[in-house]
Amino acid sequence: MEAEALKFFIACVTAAGFGIAVAAFGCGIAQGLGLKAAVEGIARNPESSGKVTVTLLIGLAMIESLCIYALVIALILIYAHPQAEAISKLFGK
């Protein structure tokens, strides 16, 4: 029983680690692509910097919030798992 409980916590930490890794990977690529396109657009037409910046700001805010969500879920899995107490009790027996 103890081994099963321990496995549960190991799975939680592994899931948190992989979750934030995948999120950071995806958000990094997305932000990079967005920024690349914006810089290229501004380089071609410097007068459009205002327009591009507004669109980029909204896009980056959306992408960044996805990464923050993943961080929150990862931290919940590690530090504030809803079933942690029940599993700990099980582990104590």
Partner: protein, 136 residues
Amino acid sequence: MAADLDKTEIQQRILTFVTWANWLLFAGASVAGLLIATPEMVIGIVCGGLIVTVNFHLLSRTLKKSLAPPCIQSHNIILAKYYLRFTVSGVIIFILIAGHFVHPLGLFIGLSVVVASIMMATVREITKLLFFKEAM
């Protein structure tokens, strides 16, 4: 040319709407939380809302300083500011969750303020465009 002007106007309108809607949604969610939720949930909503709203404004300032000519800031300063902002947000969220100061659901609701306001702005503009086209 006219289409370009129209697009600029729409983008500026979305940004203004999002900027105001952030604070309004944050205030609304906090008041609603105070009325119907537990104190941990309220702290979660307030902290999450403040984190993303302040983050959004800082991101806006950084982008304007880094991409809008004529006075463009140094790349190093921009990178340092970006990482500092992200690290501070991460540390605050870590302390809040690891110390069990907030309810995770409340924090999640608070962190969704910016996304919700961007969605609202998009729906508003789409509705306007649809009605405008129909009127034409």
